[in-house]
Symmetry: C2
Subunit: 308 residues, 2 copies
């Protein structure tokens, strides 16, 4: 069975959207990535850190979704990473109200022995030195290393970020981050520049406007599914990354043609994530629902043109 | 041969983008629609009005692109409609610097006898009473009536707009206008409300983020082609409408499946329009270039998923 190694935050989120608000609930990049990837029946594991305050029920939820959690360190007396944010009315932007790093501040990732030969490594948004450390612990070169990052690391840890970017096969970032990373406004030009930094594949996430996959001169685009209502965008980007990397781990085919499918699965799963608060929709999402939505993506995008 | 009747402005534009500026050049919704539709070798005609200052060379350009111009009234002593605008750096927004209605202020459209039985009527962005007058002059019910409009008419001529909207089969508007027209933020909900106003088909243009086609519960999405450089967005929406309506006139098939193709052709042609100032790229655009770009749209959007 293919192995997917995930590194990223396992955390508490408190979320406010125009539709309601939550107290501290389960969140974190690795959580969303893991739940999305669990759709593919692969052997996945999370490397992360939580505090003593992290509930067993949440760890159990991950295990119930077939995610190996031996790489999640529980720090005695420590507190779990906490993020609190409020979305604006259009749900396209948000304010961060609270960020408490807590145990994440001193996180030294330890890859479990059994996952040092993982086929695919998904580096969720984290300090680039943590991401690099995970790559360096692999005893067998992975078939594919995927990295997600954000503007915060571009602002504060540019040199470390460059070091890890040059070692990965795929980078997933949003459009504004692609512009910041490359200094180019045109996303086509931005992708070219980012290719030169290392990644052969560049995925640019545009939220409700879909996602672009670049590989040299090849470009593929997957729309986001148009929804009546987006309830909570939290974790959509991570869910996308989890669908993408999980599908590639499952199929073990990293051709451009198959990456198109991975992008579609990423968009597919992200469309569920935003339907409810936090991880509610993703935990226990039925395979049938995902397959049905795949048909919707086909209807939405596929055409057979007759030349006029 | 299928007939396409186009009503809309034939005008002068003066454009400033981050890449340069023009003096008065040929512009206007009907001009862009006509040039795009001319790709399909159909019998198309423009109903519009210009002043005595309108150069014969520009009328000749339309004729050279196989557009019948007997419905373009030339007002003696009159001045042609003039628009001057300046795009912001991201090219997604613009300021209107000058709008001189001139001969457009008293425009009474007269549909040439030979086009009163046109198969498809494309009502370009204009006063809704002018659009309605064209529909009322048709002696044979057209197979399809397509209407383009904008926020200005929603702000100033709501009642007249509602009267014409209820008579058309397809409406094409941008995302902000769809939200204003419907009072709904979600584009899915907006399309449902606009369906209730009359049009069975709702096309929502999202500029660089592509276009959505709604028909009840059916949704189709066409991306804009990712470009290295967008030079001048002027006329892209009209070119899209011209590609859409021209393709449907040519194929005489108004099924949802064929409308998908029409949307793709609209996006295809719009991707050329923005490559140069004004109508420069569209006048004389080679069929081969369009067919080649169709292949790019296929590569960009088509996938063959294997269930994992």
């Amino acid at each position: 069975m293919s192995k997917l190694l995930i590194v990223g935050t396992v955390a508490f989120d408190a979320i406010e959207t125009p539709f309601g608000k939550t107290d501290k609930i389960l969140g974190g990049a690795a959580t969303y990535i893991g739940l999305a990837a669990s759709q593919f029946g692969i052997d996945s594991a999370i490397v992360s850190v939580v505090g003593e305050d992290f509930p067993d029920t949440d760890l159990q939820l991950l295990k119930d979704n077939n995610i190996n959690i031996e790489g999640i360190e529980v720090v005695e007396g420590g507190k779990t990473f906490f993020w609190k944010g409020k979305y604006h009315n259009d749900l396209n932007s948000r304010d961060t109200l609270v960020t408490e790093l807590n145990v994440l501040a001193d996180f030294n990732p330890v890859v479990p022995e059994n996952y040092k030969d993982a086929d695919v490594v998904m580096l969720g948004n984290l300090h680039p030195s943590v991401q690099l450390s995970v790559i360096e612990q692999m005893t067998k070169k992975p078939k594919l290393v995927v990295l997600d990052t954000m503007n915060f690391w571009m602002d504060n840890t540019w040199d470390e970020l460059m070091k890890v970017i040059e070692k990965v096969d795929v980078i997933t970032i949003n459009d504004e981050e692609a512009r910041q990373l490359s200094g180019e406004y045109s996303l086509v030009k931005a992708a070219h520049k980012i290719h030169e930094m290392g990644p052969k594949y560049v995925v640019i996430k545009k939220g409700e406007h879909g996602a672009l996959l670049f590989n040299g001169e090849n470009i593929f685009f997957a729309p986001a599914l148009p929804l009546e209502e987006v309830f909570d965008p939290t974790g959509a980007g991570d869910t996308f990354a989890g669908g993408f990397s999980g599908y590639l781990a499952k199929t073990e085919d990293i051709s451009f043609a198959n990456m198109k499918n991975a992008i579609i699965y990423g968009s597919n799963l992200a469309s569920f994530c935003v339907e409810k608060f936090g991880t509610e929709r993703m935990a226990g999402l039925a395979k049938d629902d995902v397959q049905q939505r795949l048909m919707q993506f086909r209807e939405l995008t596929q055409f057979e043109i007759e030349l006029p």
